[in-house]
């Protein structure tokens, strides 16, 4: 008897609380603006799959890194750099619609003009190696940043400067030719 009574009470309380929620009639919520992009329809690749940023990450994943390092005032590729660049060349051969921009850097302890020159020399050393690996020369552009963009690298909790290096940046290839004119127009 005692148990039945308590059960009954619980049912009454539950009924009262559900009716209280049901009194608030929420409107149908429509997403507005661009704050929440609509999820891609199933079976389609997500939007932005082939942006240069995504492909840059893909290059880093496939080749290990997008950057090769040099000794101070040196522009000769060591075995690590050659291994990285061989993998980068393989990636570029597999992605023929993307080109590479090689960004050479000088060290912080070079004078300004010399940093520009040695950055250019390093980027061209990478360019020559990629061409040897079968990349067409017109797919590769070169720029030297001298010591204008001293990079940093996080090792554990400390941030250290990365000086002499060449970074391979993936850029979309320009359209090879204009679309053919539609006949009859």
């Amino acid at each position: 008897m005692n148990r039945t009574f308590s059960l009954l009470t619980a049912v009454i309380v539950a009924a009262a609380s559900t009716s209280a929620v049901a009194q608030v009639r929420l409107p149908v919520i429509f997403p507005l603006g661009r704050s929440q992009p609509a999820p891609p329809p199933p079976g389609m690749p997500p939007v932005g799959m082939n942006t240069p940023e995504v492909l840059q990450s893909d290059l880093i994943v496939k080749a290990g890194t997008d950057t090769v390092y040099f000794p101070a005032r040196g522009a000769i590729l060591d075995s690590n750099a050659r291994a990285t660049l061989t993998a980068q060349a393989r990636w570029l051969l597999a992605n023929p619609y993307m080109n590479a921009r090689l960004e050479g850097h000088g060290g912080a302890d070079d004078s300004r003009d010399f940093a520009l020159a040695i950055g250019d020399k390093r980027a061209n050393a990478v360019r020559d190696f990629l061409i040897l690996q079968g990349i067409a020369p017109n797919r590769i552009s070169v720029i030297s940043w001298g010591k204008e963009r001293p990079g940093t690298m996080r090792i554990g909790t400390s941030v250290v400067a990365t000086g002499p290096r060449v970074r391979t940046v993936v850029v979309p290839a320009p359209a090879p030719f204009a679309p053919p004119p539609v006949p009859g127009q």
Partner: protein, 435 residues
């Protein structure tokens, strides 16, 4: 009567004018009296009343001369201000009474066409002789240039050095840091006045170099994702690439006649020095070594070029004839040399030498002997000579704040003075202003 009583005071004043830690006392400092200029009639002009201008001009002349360390400015507050006729007939005893050796007086008059006539006279007070006189007709807002020229007249007479006050400094102004760093070419008078920007800050720019006439600046730019040299008019903003079709080119410098620009250009990774007509054209190659050659600087006679090369394994200084022949190495110290700058008198070459954590500004004779280090500090770089060759302007980085600013030092070494700029500053180029 008053002179003997003033003498001990005067010697005290001379002592007080020099801090005890000044490394380079000027034994030949000259006491000069600079009273306010006179004016025939106090009238309103675009630059203010002529009487107000007269005071501003004498203040500016005093500031110019006082900044050199070669002058002691006599206190003229107690002296009666010379009247207009007295400008050409000074009463010498009253200037002797303040201990002055030189007197610089002058006048400001307004002309009917709205311009100003500014005249100045330098007198030797002891002998009562006129040493120099100069007159200028300037627009009312350009009175600073006339004042600088007046100061130059006294400076030349007292020190025998070339004029330097009517000169300008181009540099790279930088604001922000990291990814938001903005670099712009800026120009200003040597004393910081008339500051103006030449480029807009859309793209990173480096190493400005004045044309000898002072009307154009050649600089290195990254605009359009391409490393290339551009030339820009200082006032008309006529900004264009020097070689629109060439490979990466940078480090421009004008020849002393202004007709040629020497620069560094990459050809498939081999950077060499080239020359090209200042208006653009077909570049002519001067160096052919497979090593890096960059950073050219012309001698004042235009016959030779100093440059940097790493053909020995490390960047060192070299000199060649301006047709590329007769190349000689002139630096042999440890570390990396860079940024050569030929002195205005042609006798020495200033440079940066980076070794370990410190970098140094130094000078070396054109034969490679007598290397002198002038400063040593974190990132002292990119020296540029003052027009008279007495001082070196360079960039220095504060180790604590990492802010880069300009500083100057006597070419013989000594106290380093900070050169104030509105923002961070690097890559200075100091030039005499043309007509």
């Amino acid at each position: 009567m008053t002179i003997p009583r003033l003498l001990p005071l005067l010697s005290l004043a001379i002592l007080a004018g020099y801090p005890a830690d000044a490394q380079e006392p000027e034994p030949t400092a000259t006491v000069i009296a600079i009273p306010p200029l006179a004016t025939a009639k106090n009238v309103e002009t675009d630059g203010g009343k002529t009487w107000a201008l007269a005071n501003l001009i004498s203040d500016l002349i005093a500031a110019d001369l006082g900044s050199t360390g070669n002058f002691i400015i006599a206190d003229v507050k107690k002296v009666r201000i010379p009247s207009y006729p007295e400008v050409t007939a000074p009463s010498y005893p009253q200037w002797r009474s303040v201990g002055a050796k030189l007197l610089l007086s002058g006048f400001v008059n307004s002309r009917d066409d709205g311009r100003l006539t500014i005249g100045c006279y330098v007198y030797d007070v002891q002998t009562g002789r006129e040493l120099a006189r100069q007159g200028f007709a300037v627009t009312a807002t350009e009175w600073r240039r006339a004042a600088h020229r007046c100061a130059d007249a006294a400076y030349q007479k007292a020190t025998g050095k070339a004029p330097q006050f009517d000169s300008r400094i181009a540099y790279v102004a930088q604001s922000g840091s990291g990814d938001t760093l903005v670099k712009r070419i800026a120009v200003m008078d040597f004393d910081g006045a008339s500051h103006a920007y030449v480029t807009s800050g859309d793209s990173t720019v480096l190493t400005p170099a004045w044309s000898p006439k002072g009307d154009r600046i050649a600089y290195t730019s990254f605009s359009g994702g391409k490393l290339h040299i551009r030339t820009a008019g200082v006032t008309d903003k006529d900004d264009r690439p020097l070689l629109p079709m060439a490979e990466e080119n940078f480090a421009p410098t004008f020849s002393p006649d202004g007709r040629t620009i020497a620069f560094a250009m990459s050809q498939g990774g081999n950077v060499d020095i080239f020359i090209v007509p200042a208006g653009g054209g077909y570049p002519h190659r001067l160096t052919t070594s497979p090593s890096i050659e960059t950073g050219p600087s012309y001698s004042p006679d235009g016959r030779r070029i100093a440059f940097v090369s790493d053909r020995s394994g490390a960047p060192q200084l070299y000199v060649m004839d301006s047709d590329g022949t007769n190349q000689r190495r002139i630096s042999f110290g440890p570390g990396a040399y860079g940024a050569p700058a030929w002195s205005p008198d042609g006798s020495r070459i200033a440079f940066t030498r980076i070794e370990g954590p410190l970098s140094r500004i130094g000078t070396v004779s054109t034969e490679g002997s007598d290397e002198k280090i002038v400063t040593m500090g974190p990132n002292d770089e990119e020296p540029s000579w003052s027009p008279d060759g007495s001082r070196l302007l360079f960039q220095r980085q504060e180790p604590a704040t990492r802010r880069v600013h300009l500083a100057s030092v006597s070419a013989a070494g000594g106290e380093v003075r900070s050169v104030p700029t509105p923002q961070g500053a690097s890559d200075p180029s100091w030039s005499e202003r043309g007509e």
